[in-house]
Structures are given as structure tokens and as C-alpha cells.
């Protein structure tokens, strides 16, 4: 049977059929072969072409799908499989992205049968939610509640309810994150996540909404009418909201502990909930070298980097509650969401999700329309030029070939050793984590349990610290032996020369390997540092510390290069944490001094006269104080602590009452401490990164000089 002769696929227009044909796949199932299992992620909808397919749960067979029937409708709601599917005898099933099929049906004028199926699913989902929340809910009461329930899928940023509107129904959050804000304000007071309830009292008492309810990301909410609540639950209805209030308070504590930087920044809980493979960078270990981004670009043929080392930061513990909390940067890169926003928006179903959860874009289907890039809330997809030779969908007869292509992280599938970014990180600061499972705070916010994992210790920090002094001492010892029968040309002196040469070649190999997609181990930096120190020690002992003639120049270059490298190791160890403390947010690489002045004007604008006077007289000189930033670095205070200290000082000198009356002071203080640290940030960044370019150039020169030196000495 041709798939398009099956009832659900009849009557589609030509364009839709072509797209379904390109994206769909026929599954031939052996008897009893499984099509999907209960709880699997669901993106595809299936049409039975031949044979029969059983839909079953633990309770038994739910129904038997016959040729022409559809199955797997939960995909249209973005829910995991609610039943397993298994072929009864031999069967043939046509599977295609549910969103594509829905598009096709809509283009062809809708499909009422799908709506009925959808309603059935919605009831089942809400029933699950209610059963989990209300113990011993009997069939009749459940029916009453379900009859009064509707499911709403809301887009990010949309208002679910506005303060002042009548509340005929209470909201049960099924999936996603909802912000509760005071009327008309952007201040988030509470945060609702999965299975929280809102507006129960208002609905029961016939009051209006007291707050705005805004979807933080795409979310699903079940609305249950007040009559249904009263009828189904009776007096117990009033207690429906109690548990979620307690959870909200607990969440507020967790969220307060996740703040990094001088002002309270939004924590994207929605992102943490969705992320299956979140790219996080420990800012206390990240040396801002950008090796991850470059490795990403070089590991892909098109040369586009799929990640950007920028994004929000949060203070969190990885793996175990006992782990120390570090500031993590949520870098801009595809996080392979559990319910990807990009996937349903693709008009050709080029975006698919594998059984391992990896979200992929098929270049042979991607038209480069940009719908996915617009749909992704975190800018993880970008549009690039399609390179010649990349597979492409056949262009329409009248149209030009497709010029663009959607580009995003593919987790370096096919690269040995996993994602190139993580492999390239010299300090193991970069990781890919399943936020809801690996981040302690995220698990607490989302009400998940945490498996006990212990964090891996980082190797490079102590290896270098131990190895380098030992090696240098050996070099110094060799150098002192000079003159007592020790010459560079023979015996141990010559051997030291060979040691230095081999060590230099070895550490050069590290640099060369950095440019390969694979072959970078976690020991890389420690080994490189040790080899560098060995080079330094060997060269020193070999030449006896005398820089005479051409060999002297060579020794000088090598020792300078290695010395820069050793400085770098120390800087890598000491500076990142200090830099993180004085960074306002991870995206402030571009922040310049005039921008800070702008920010200050904005913060002061429209505020009281007292604050303006205080700013002009005290805070502006404080922000502009020469060397103030470095003083902050030396003191070791973070911007948050500095802000608190400044606040306390102002209180001490002006009195707490006057300070409390100054509206907007907090924002101004945050701005001035950020501005004060701005130059120091630049200095620390330069100290952290500036040595690398001369190190690389001098190492290259040194290596060539080594070759010349070896050749000419060998010739003697």
C-alpha cells in the first residue's frame, strides 16, 4: 500500500506530499517487533500501511491499529510515548514528523479526527497530573474535573493570565516554567514549574487574578474551572494550592543562592529544565583562551563555530550536594532540549531527535528558512552560507538553489572522544551536563532526584605545580657543574642538550595536536608544562647558563618562550577566579567605559534628587578612581560583596533611614562597582591571555633554531 493512499494522508496538496515523502520513512516490522516503547521521546506520528500494530501499557493492550489508522498522536502535544507499540504480525508503518503532518493537514483544510484524538490525549494527561496531586481520586470526581479542564500550550513570554482579569479557572502547570509577576511589572515574585497550581483560591472565591502569569518559556497549562474544582474535590479543593506555595518558597531560597554578579539576574529555570546536554563552563577554571570555540569551528568542514563563550552565569554545584559551588557560564550552544522548540517549527521536518536525544539537522532537508533559528529561545541555531557540495533539498522548478543552511551543535557525532569543545579545553573547565540531573540546584528547583556522582578532580593544576620546581632544580644543578669537566659538547652536558631538544619537540607536538579534532587528553596542559620546564632545565644545564654566540641566542629564545609559558601556567591557576569575581556578567566582554557611564545615567535617570547628588559627589568619583579596580582585585572581594560593603559604608555615614529612602540606590551601586572594576577586568584579561601570542611565536622560532643548532653542531 502506498503511504499516500492511507486515509490520513489522502487529499494532501502536492507540496505537502513531496515534503512528507522526503522526510518520512517506512518501517517494516517483523512479528512482535517493537516500534517504540512507553516513555520514549516522541516526535513522529505513524500511519499503519499494512498489518496490525498493538498499543500496550503495563495494564495490557489499549487498542489495535489497523491499516489506515494513526498512532503516536502524543507527539503532536510534545509528550513522551504514553504506550508502547509492537507489531502483531508482519507490519509496515509509515513514520513522519507529527508537526509536518499537522502542517500538511492544516494546509489541506484540517482533519477533525485528529482533534478528537488530541482531546482524548489531553484528558489522559490532565488525569495523570491530577492523580499525582490528589490521592484517592475516584472515577466520578476525576470525570467531573476532566470535563471542566482544558489544556493550553502557551508561547514564551505570553500572558497566561493578567492581574485584574476574572479567574473562572485555576491553572495547573503541566510542563514548563511560569513567572508570577505583580500587575504590569517585570519583577518576578514566584516561579511555578511542573505540577504547581495557581489561582485556586481566586477561582473558588470568584475573585480576580492578583498577579500576572507569564510563560517563561513554551509551557503547557491545564485550566480547571471553579465549578469542576468544587464538584470534583469538594472542600479538598482549597488545599490544592498549598503544596505549590511551599515549593515556591523553597525555590526562592535556592534561586537566591544561584546569583552571581552585583545585581539579581534572571535564572532561566526553563532552560535548565529543557537542557539535556547543556554546555557549561566553570568560570573559576576557564582561562578565556577560546580554544573551545576554535576547536568547534575547526572540527566542522564549514568552519562555523557552533558555540559562543557568552551567556548567563549561575552559582551551582555539579554532581553532588557536597561539591563546592562554582560560577558556571551557560554558553550559547545547542543543548539538545527534551522538547525542542525548533523541531516543530521546521517546515520540512529537517530537525529530528535521535533515540539518544541528540537533536540533528539534516542538510538534505534544510531549506535555510531560519524558522528554527527564530524559534530557539537561546540563539543556539544560526544561519550560515551553504557550502558547495553540502546536500540540499531539490529546489523548486522556478526557484534558485537553497543558499543558506541552519547551523547548530551536533555534539560532534562521529568524532572520537566526544565533543571537540570539551576535548580542547586545556583546563577541563568545559562540560556537557544534563542540567536537571547533574546540577544540584536545578534538580532542587525542578523537584527531581539527584543520582550520587562525584566530581572529577582536575589534574593539571597540581601536576604542573609539583613537576615544574623539580625539573627546574635539576637544571640549576646541571648548570653549576659547568667548568668541572662538564661541556655542552660531550658527556652529560650533551645529554642534557638532547633532553632539552626532545622535551621541546614534545611540547611542540602538544601545540600541533591542539589543531587536530582528536587526541587531546586531560593531561595535555600538565604534560605540556612539564615538558616545557624540562626544556628550560635541560637548556640551562646544557649551556651552563652562558648566552654566548649563536647557541646563546637559541638558548635565550627557548628560555624566553618557556618562561612565558610557565608564567601562563601560573596565571591560568591564579587569575580566572579573580577575574570571575569582578565580572558583572559573562557577556560583558564588549562592555566599554562609555557604556558603563551610559548605564549609570540610565540608573540615575528619573530618580530622586538625593540619589543624584550622592552619585555625583561620592559614587562617580568612586567609580572613576584610578587603580580602584586593581584594589578590588587585591582585596579579593567579589562585585556582590563590594556592593554590600559600599552599601554598609553609606549607611554608616548617612544613616540607614536616608539610605532606605533612596529609591533605585541598589541599581546605581551595582553599576558603579561594575564600572570601577572595568579597567581591572581588562588588565586581568590581558594578563591571562596576552602572553600566549609571543609564547607561540617564540616557541616556533625556538624550534627552528633548535633544528639549525642541531644541524650545525652535528656537522662539527
Amino acid at each position: 500500500m502506498n503511504a499516500f493512499e492511507a486515509v490520513p494522508l489522502r487529499g494532501l496538496d502536492e507540496a505537502s506530499r513531496a515534503r512528507i515523502e522526503a522526510a518520512g520513512r517506512v518501517h517494516r516490522l517483523a512479528p512482535k517487533e517493537r516500534l517504540f516503547a512507553l516513555g520514549d521521546d516522541a516526535d513522529d506520528l505513524f500511519v499503519v500501511l499494512r498489518g496490525r500494530v498493538l498499543l500496550e501499557t503495563e495494564a495490557g493492550v489499549l487498542r489495535i491499529a489497523e491499516p489506515g489508522h494513526t498512532l503516536g498522536e502524543e507527539a503532536t502535544l510534545g509528550l513522551p510515548r504514553r504506550a508502547g507499540a509492537r507489531a502483531q504480525g508482519e507490519a509496515e508503518v509509515f513514520g513522519v514528523s507529527a508537526s509536518l503532518l499537522q502542517r500538511a493537514w492544516t494546509r489541506a483544510g484540517g482533519r477533525p479526527a485528529a482533534a478528537a484524538e488530541r482531546r482524548r490525549l489531553e484528558r489522559a494527561v490532565i488525569a495523570d497530573l491530577l492523580r499525582a496531586r490528589v490521592p484517592a481520586l475516584d472515577g466520578w470526581a476525576l470525570d467531573v474535573l476532566l470535563d471542566g479542564a482544558t489544556l493550553q500550550t502557551a508561547a514564551a513570554g505570553s500572558h497566561l493570565a493578567r492581574a485584574g482579569d476574572p479567574a473562572p479557572a485555576a491553572a495547573l502547570v503541566l510542563d514548563g516554567v511560569v513567572h508570577v509577576r505583580p500587575a504590569g511589572s517585570r519583577e518576578v515574585e514566584r516561579l511555578l514549574t511542573g505540577s504547581d497550581a495557581a489561582g485556586v483560591e481566586a477561582a473558588l472565591e470568584g475573585r480576580a487574578w492578583s498577579h500576572d502569569l507569564v510563560a517563561a518559556g513554551a509551557c503547557q497549562v491545564a485550566w480547571i474551572r471553579a465549578e469542576a474544582l468544587r464538584g470534583g474535590l469538594g472542600p479538598a479543593a482549597a488545599r490544592l494550592g498549598d503544596a505549590s506555595r511551599a515549593r515556591c518558597d523553597a525555590r526562592a531560597t535556592v534561586l537566591a543562592g544561584m546569583q552571581v554578579g552585583p545585581r539579581p539576574a534572571p535564572v532561566d529555570v526553563h532552560r535548565l529544565a529543557r537542557a539535556r546536554s547543556l554546555l557549561v563552563i566553570d568560570q573559576d577554571a576557564c582561562v578565556r583562551c577560546g580554544q573551545c570555540t576554535r576547536a568547534c569551528a575547526s572540527n566542522h568542514d564549514d568552519g562555523f563555530a557552533r558555540m559562543r563563550r557568552a551567556g548567563p552565569r549561575l552559582l551551582a554545584r555539579m554532581g553532588a550536594p557536597t561539591a563546592p559551588a562554582s560560577p558556571w557560564l551557560l554558553a550559547q550552544a545547542c543543548q539538545h532540549c527534551t522538547a525542542p522548540a525548533c523541531l516543530p517549527d521546521c517546515p520540512t521536518a529537517a530537525i529530528t531527535r535521535g533515540p539518544d536525544g541528540v537533536v540533528k539537522i539534516d542538510p538534505a532537508l534544510c531549506t535555510g528558512c531560519g524558522a528554527c533559528a527564530k524559534a530557539c529561545p537561546w540563539d543556539a541555531i544560526e544561519m550560515g552560507e551553504r557550502r558547495p557540495g553540502t546536500p540540499s533539498p531539490p529546489p523548486p522548478a522556478s526557484g534558485a538553489p537553497y543558499e543558506h543552511i541552519a547551523v547548530k551543535c551536533d555534539l560532534c557525532v562521529g568524532t572520537r572522544g566526544g565533543p571537540a569543545c570539551a576535548q580542547a579545553c586545556p583546563t577541563e573547565a568545559l562540560q556537557r551536563v544534563d542540567a536537571a540531573r547533574d546540577v544540584v540546584e536545578a534538580a532542587a528547583l525542578l523537584g527531581r532526584t539527584l543520582p550520587s556522582v562525584s566530581a572529577r578532580p582536575r589534574v593539571w593544576t597540581w601536576t604542573g605545580a609539583v613537576a615544574i620546581p623539580i625539573v627546574l632544580a635539576a637544571g640549576a644543578w646541571g648548570a653549576t657543574r659547568h667548568g668541572a669537566g662538564w661541556t655542552p659538547g660531550a658527556g652529560p652536558g650533551l645529554w642534557m642538550g638532547w633532553v632539552a631538544a626532545v622535551a621541546l619537540a614534545g611540547s611542540m607536538a602538544y601545540a600541533a595536536m591542539r589543531r587536530l579534532p582528536t587526541g587531546r587528553g586531560p593531561l595535555g596542559l600538565a604534560l605540556h608544562g612539564t615538558l616545557g620546564a624540562t626544556t628550560l632545565a635541560g637548556a640551562w644545564a646544557h649551556g651552563g647558563g652562558r648566552f654566548v654566540g649563536q647557541p646563546g641566542v637559541f638558548a635565550g629564545v627557548v628560555m624566553l618562550a618557556v618562561g612565558l609559558g610557565l608564567y601562563g601556567l601560573i596565571a591560568y591557576r591564579l587569575l580566572p577566579a579573580r577575574l570571575t569575581r569582578i565580572e558583572a556578567d559573562a557577556g560583558d566582554e564588549r562592555a566599554r567605559a562609555p557604556e558603563s557611564a551610559d548605564a549609570l545615567m540610565r540608573a540615575v535617570g528619573g530618580r530622586g534628587e538625593a540619589l543624584k547628588r550622592l552619585t555625583a559627589a561620592v559614587l562617580l568619583p568612586y567609580a572613576r578612581r584610578f587603580g580602584g579596580g586593581m584594589r578590588l582585585v587585591v582585596s579579593g572581594r567579589s562585585l556582590t560583596q563590594e556592593r554590600a560593603r559600599l552599601h554598609a559604608q553609606l549607611e554608616a555615614s548617612l544613616g540607614p533611614e536616608r539610605i532606605a529612602r533612596m529609591e533605585g540606590l541598589g541599581e546605581v551601586l551595582a553599576t558603579v562597582v561594575t564600572a570601577r572594576a572595568s579597567r581591572a577586568r581588562g588588565v586581568l584579561r590581558a594578563l591571562l591571555r596576552g602572553w600566549l601570542a609571543p609564547h607561540v611565536v617564540l616557541s616556533g622560532v625556538g624550534f627552528v633554531l633548535l633544528v639549525v643548532h642541531a644541524l650545525t653542531q652535528g656537522a662539527r
Binding site: C369, P395, Q713
Partner: protein
């Protein structure tokens, strides 16, 4: 308690394009720089090694004798003792040394360190010089006789220390050491000079030589060191190389990041109506075109793009550029008559010397307005018109919107004398955008000329930047100058303005008209109580400033609906909408739905089939006599197009022009006009 404040979410209407990360550009060229530096250093080192292998320099006498390295050194074997080939066998005069020599324990080079730095003293031609390794330096003040000539090599004490103990006074060699105990001054190692042979001239000379040599060493104990010039040169070359490649790398990177395509932008306004045509059978339903359109001309219906508001189409091809598979094509339609006729130089076809720029020409988007402003000034400059009076300006710019500002910056750059008049304030129409509105700089294939700052930013950022530009460039901006008429005579123009203080007249050789399209907001025909004058608004920038107020919105267009909705979401604000019709007739479906929902929720009240009779103190009176309490009245009933004003100064529509190709208006003709200069009309390039 507040957890945090949500940032205003961006309106994601265009897909971000891949751009190189800073991390990528940061190290760009480093590998190339390393390669260059390495190759350069390697080549130089090889060259210098060939000149003086291993840094060893042939001593001065040997170098003068033209000896090469290979003369003493063999490639395969260690240094050979080949001194005797030239010097002949020179047995030692001392018994001990002779025995050691015979057994092979003492070779010539054991005492004479050929590449060492002790060297010796050279005497001849009446002068003495101390040499070592490869260099020599003269010793001044030493009286050397004319016939004295010879070389005295010096043996370092270190060489003797292998057998002797220089520190022991009983050791025979201690008597030979010089004052510094670093070298021996007994030069009679190979020739014994005693009383018996003193008579021979050779011995006489030798004693003179040795004496002079001792004196020379006393004066100059340290022989010149090895020639360091090679090493120094190598260091210098290396440093220069590293510096050069690092600088070059920085320059290369910078140049690449700032390089922009310098295509000449097309500033000609469209001549024909252009409308998108969509092939529904191939349309993907991706909404690329819908999101690209700044005026919501297109919408997605059942996953197919459709033309829903053809009248608002601006004729630009953004949608066509974004369509991935060519399903949407913008095609030419009927000629546009509703635009002023301008030449390619943006000079009015009717009034020579009058230049038009910005939305007025029928070409939308801020970027185009900026380009047109600059082009208009350049054309005015090229026309060569000069002021006819000493107090006259080269240029008067009417309107301080994007086009006017850009024109002012261009005029300032060209050194023209000019003045900029504006009826309201700087960029008035951008000021009236909603608070925090994202101003889209459509990333078209239109390059930006002119110096006006433009980036995708919020309205506030854009205004802040522009205000700063006006202040820092000291642009002569006259705000609250409402242009009442422009009179042309053979010598130039008179631009007449009404100001709060009275009237003002400016004489100019040319005029740039950048007044936008919106014209003047249509005012209420009803009488207005003087106390309410400050409470009547024609735009809504920030609904929050009207919290806890009673607001009346007159009109039911998109602008009015959006304002009413924004006000209704503000806490404590009561909103009454006054509509002339009996139902929604036009406007975006989204707005109509939201209005219905808001009305059902009791957020606002719509008075259908009503008109405003009068605005009294604290209330609006309707035609039925109903009094609606009002603290703020928003009049949003459209605008009067600037056509009457344009006609008054002689500018006609393209359509009128075709029908009667009349000549210029008579010089000196003067028409009072109702319109005033105002920058940019409908939000250009705003989405």
C-alpha cells in the same frame, strides 16, 4: 519579595546569522605569524651559522693568514693537531713539558686555546695591539720601535692549572703569572733566551718583543672578547621579526573585521507599486517573509504566506530576499502617483534647489533615510548653488529625523553653513515609539553611508546616541520651529518658521526637506478646554506613566487599539475607547482579538457610534451628551498628509505631474501652509 526583574524579551523576527566569534578572530593569523617568524629566524640563523659555525671565530693571526675551519677541523674527526704543518715542531725548552709532549699528554692546543679569548699581543709598524678570539684593539701610549715586529701568544693560567697549582708559591709556574694571575708571562717556552745567545739579533728582538708584550698586557690585561656582533645582530633581527609579525597580525585582523563592502546604495525611491506574489504550491510556510516585512503586509494562513495588507506594502524586497526557495517574488504593478517627483539626485523635479530625503520620497526604512540625507547634501553641494547674501546659509534642513540628522552630519563634514529646523523635538516620531521598542535595523543588502549611528537597539539607545551626536557635533538644531512656508526667488529660498517666541526667517541657497510622511496628527474638531491642552496626546510612548489615571482613547485604528490595550494592562488605569463605527472594521486581527478579550474581561470600555463633542476640564463630552471623566485623552484618528504643504511650495505628486507638466511655480509666489516640518512618518524599518 522579588526574585529578579525579567529583561524585555527581544522580538525575534529575524534569524541570527553565523558570525565569527571573538575567540576565533582573537588568534587569527597567529599560526601564520609563527611560521613567518620561524622561517625568517631559521634562515638568518643558518646564514650566520655558515658565516661563523657554532659561534667560534678564527683567531686573528690565523684569520689573517687566510685559514679556514677545515684547515684544522675534519668533518668526521675531532680537531686535529695540525699546528706543526705551518709552525714546524716547536719543542718545549722545559724538560717536564718535553716529556709530556713526547708521551702525547701535552698538545699544542692544550696551552694555546685557539678559540679561547686570551689571544696575544701583536706588535708591528710602530704600534701594539691586543688581540683575542677574532678582534683586536690598539694599545695606546706604548712606544714600539720602528723595527719591532712579531706576535706574542698568551697562554691562560687555566691551561697550566691542569698540572700545576697556580696558588702554590713553591710551584715554579707561580713566578710566570701576571698581576691578575690569569695568564703566564713566561714567553720562553719554545725559545730559550740566555746570556749565551744574547748577541744574536733575533734574541735581542725577542727580548724586546717579550718586554713590550708584558707591558702591553699590564696595560690591557683583558683581550677583546669574541665578536658579539653576530649574536647581537641575531637578537636584533629576532626581536624585529617577532614585533613585525605580531603587529602585522593585529593589523590584518583589524582590517578584516572593519572591512565593509563599499557598494553604492540605491537611494532612488520606487516608481511603481511593488507587491509580493506568492506561489502557494511551493510556499514552505516558514514565515521568513512574514517576519521580514516591517509593516505586517504578509501573514501566515494555514501555513501558506498570504498578502493581507497590500496597501501598506513599502515595495522593498526584504521578503523576496528572505524567501528560501523563490516562492515569493515582488513584482512591479501600477506606477505610484502618491509621491513627490524627484530626480536621481533627490532634487525635486518641480522646485530646483529643493532636495527631498527620507520617508517623504516614498522610500521607507531608517537606513534608507540616512543614506538619502547624505546623498541629498552631496547633490546640493554638487549643484554649486551659493548663498546670495552674507547672512544666508548654504542649506536649511527641515526636519530632524534620521534623514535630517544624516543630512546635517554630511553638511557639517562638507563644511557647509546650515541650520536645521524641527517643529517638535529631535527624532520626534521615534520618541513616540513605545518604551523599550526594539528598532530593527533590517539587515538588508543595503550598505550604510553617512555618519549617523545605526544599530539594532532599543528606541532609548537610539535616541541617546543621536542626542549625543547632536551635542558633540554641535549641530545647529532649532527645535520648536514650525515651518510655515518656503518661498523661492531667483537667488534662493526663504524658509519661514513660527516659533514659541514669534517668527523666524532663514535665507538659504538650497533646502533639504526631510519631513517624513506622517504629516501632522489629525486633531479633534471639537473645542478643547485650555486646561486640558497638556492632557491631550497624539501618541503613547509609555503606558506606565499613565497608571492610576482615567484615559480616553479616540479612534479604533491599529495605533489606537495598541495604545488602548497597553493602557488597559497598566494597573489601576481605566480606559474608554470612543469609536465612530459600530464594530471593528480594519486593523490587525491580533489587535482586534485582544480588544474583544479585554472588553470581555472588563479592562476597557468601547463606546460605539460616538464622536467627541467637546473636551472639557476633566471630562470628554460625547455627541449623546454623555460626560466621560478623563485625565488623559489620546487622539489617534490618523494624520493629515503633508501634501497641502508640499503643494504650497510647488512640489507636486508624480501623478499630478503626468497630467499637467507645468513649469516651476512663479518665483516669489507665496502660499501659507498648514503643515510643519516633522521628521519621518510611519515608523521606518520598525517591526
Amino acid at each position: 519579595m522579588t526574585l529578579w526583574t525579567d529583561p524585555a524579551g527581544p522580538h525575534r523576527r529575524h534569524a541570527p546569522a553565523v558570525s565569527p566569534r571573538r575567540d576565533q578572530t582573537m588568534r587569527r593569523g597567529l599560526l601564520l605569524a609563527t611560521l613567518l617568524a620561524s622561517l625568517g629566524a631559521g634562515a638568518f640563523a643558518a646564514y650566520s651559522a655558515a658565516r661563523s659555525p657554532n659561534g667560534y671565530v678564527i683567531g686573528r693571526p690565523h684569520a689573517q693568514a687566510g685559514l679556514s675551519c677545515a684547515r684544522c677541523h675534519d668533518r668526521q674527526q675531532p680537531a686535529q693537531e695540525q699546528c706543526t704543518g705551518c709552525h714546524g715542531p716547536q719543542p718545549s725548552t722545559r724538560a717536564g713539558h718535553r716529556t709530556a709532549r713526547a708521551s702525547g699528554a701535552l698538545r699544542c692546543v692544550d696551552c694555546h686555546e685557539i678559540h679561547g679569548s686570551f689571544g696575544g699581543v701583536a706588535l708591528g709598524e710602530g704600534a701594539a695591539s691586543r688581540f683575542g678570539h677574532g678582534q683586536a684593539e690598539p694599545i695606546a701610549g706604548l712606544d714600539v720601535g720602528p723595527g719591532v715586529q712579531g706576535v706574542v701568544p698568551v697562554v691562560p693560567a687555566q691551561a697550566c692549572a691542569r698540572c700545576h697549582d697556580p696558588g702554590d708559591a713553591s710551584d715554579p709556574m707561580s713566578r710566570c703569572l701576571d698581576a691578575t694571575s690569569t695568564m703566564t708571562l713566561c714567553f720562553d717556552e719554545h725559545r730559550r733566551v740566555d746570556g749565551l745567545t744574547l748577541a744574536t739579533g733575533g734574541a735581542q728582538d725577542r727580548i724586546v718583543l717579550w718586554t713590550l708584550a708584558r707591558e702591553a698586557i699590564a696595560r690591557d690585561p683583558v683581550a677583546p672578547g669574541p665578536r658579539r656582533s653576530d649574536a647581537g645582530l641575531l637578537w636584533g633581527v629576532l626581536a624585529a621579526l617577532v614585533f613585525a609579525v605580531l603587529t602585522l597580525r593585529t593589523l590584518l585582523t583589524r582590517e578584516r573585521s572593519t572591512a565593509r563592502d563599499d557598494l553604492a546604495p540605491d537611494v532612488r525611491p520606487p516608481v511603481r507599486v511593488r507587491l509580493p506574489q506568492i506561489d502557494a504550491s511551493t510556499c514552505l510556510g516558514c514565515s521568513a517573509c512574514v517576519d521580514a516585512c516591517p509593516y505586517d503586509v504578509l501573514a501566515l494562513e494555514r501555513y501558506v504566506a498570504t498578502l493581507v495588507r497590500p496597501n501598506d506594502c513599502c515595495g522593498l524586497t526584504t521578503c523576496q530576499e528572505r524567501c528560501p526557495n523563490g516562492s515569493l517574488v515582488v513584482r512591479d504593478g501600477a506606477p505610484i502617483d502618491d509621491r513627490p517627483a524627484v530626480a536621481e539626485t533627490l532634487e525635486s523635479a518641480d522646485v530646483p534647489g529643493l532636495y527631498l530625503a527620507g520617508d517623504l520620497t516614498g522610500m521607507p526604512l531608517i537606513r534608507n533615510a540616512i543614506n538619502q540625507g547624505a546623498v541629498a547634501v552631496h547633490s546640493a553641494l554638487a549643484s554649486g548653488r551659493t548663498p546670495d547674501r552674507p547672512d544666508a546659509f548654504d542649506l536649511v534642513i527641515v526636519g530632524a529625523g534620521p534623514a535630517g540628522l544624516s543630512a546635517a552630519l554630511a553638511a557639517k563634514k562638507e563644511g557647509l553653513s546650515f541650520v536645521m529646523v524641527e517643529q517638535g523635538d529631535l527624532a520626534q516620531s521615534i520618541r513616540s515609539f513605545p518604551r523599550g521598542k526594539l528598532v530593527f535595523d533590517q539587515p538588508l543588502s543595503v550598505p550604510l553611508i553617512g555618519d549617523l549611528w545605526l544599530e539594532e537597539s532599543t528606541k532609548e539607545d537610539l535616541l541617546r546616541h543621536w542626542t549625543r551626536i547632536v551635542r558633540s557635533e554641535a549641530l545647529p538644531l532649532r527645535t520648536r520651529h514650525r515651518v510655515s512656508g518656503i518661498v523661492r526667488d531667483p537667488g534662493g529660498f526663504w524658509v519661514e518658521c513660527t516659533t514659541p517666541e514669534g517668527t523666524a526667517r532663514f535665507r538659504a541657497a538650497a533646502v533639504v526637506l526631510a519631513i517624513g510622511r506622517r504629516g501632522t496628527p489629525r486633531r479633534l474638531a471639537a473645542p478643547l478646554h485650555p486646561s486640558m491642552e497638556d492632557h491631550v496626546f497624539y501618541s503613547l510612548a509609555d503606558a506606565r506613566s499613565f497608571a492610576q489615571r482615567r484615559c480616553v482613547v479616540v479612534g479604533l485604528g491599529d495605533v489606537a487599539m495598541e495604545a488602548a490595550l497597553a493602557l488597559s494592562y497598566t494597573p489601576g488605569t481605566s480606559v474608554v475607547v470612543i469609536a465612530r463605527g459600530d464594530d471593528f472594521r480594519r486593523g490587525k486581527a491580533r489587535n482586534i482579538d485582544a480588544m474583544r478579550a479585554a472588553e470581555a474581561a472588563g479592562r476597557l470600555e468601547i463606546r460605539w457610534q460616538s464622536t467627541v463633542e467637546a473636551v472639557e476640564a476633566g471630562a470628554v463630552v460625547l455627541d449623546g451628551g454623555a460626560r466621560i471623566p478623563a485625565e488623559a485623552v489620546f487622539v489617534m484618528i490618523g494624520a493629515i498628509a503633508p501634501w497641502s504643504f508640499l503643494r504650497s511650495i510647488g512640489v507636486r505628486r508624480a501623478g499630478e505631474r503626468k497630467m499637467s507638466p507645468a513649469a516651476d511655480p512663479p518665483p516669489g509666489s507665496r502660499v501659507q501652509a498648514g503643515h510643519a516640518g516633522e521628521a519621518s512618518g510611519r515608523p521606518p524599518g520598525i517591526a
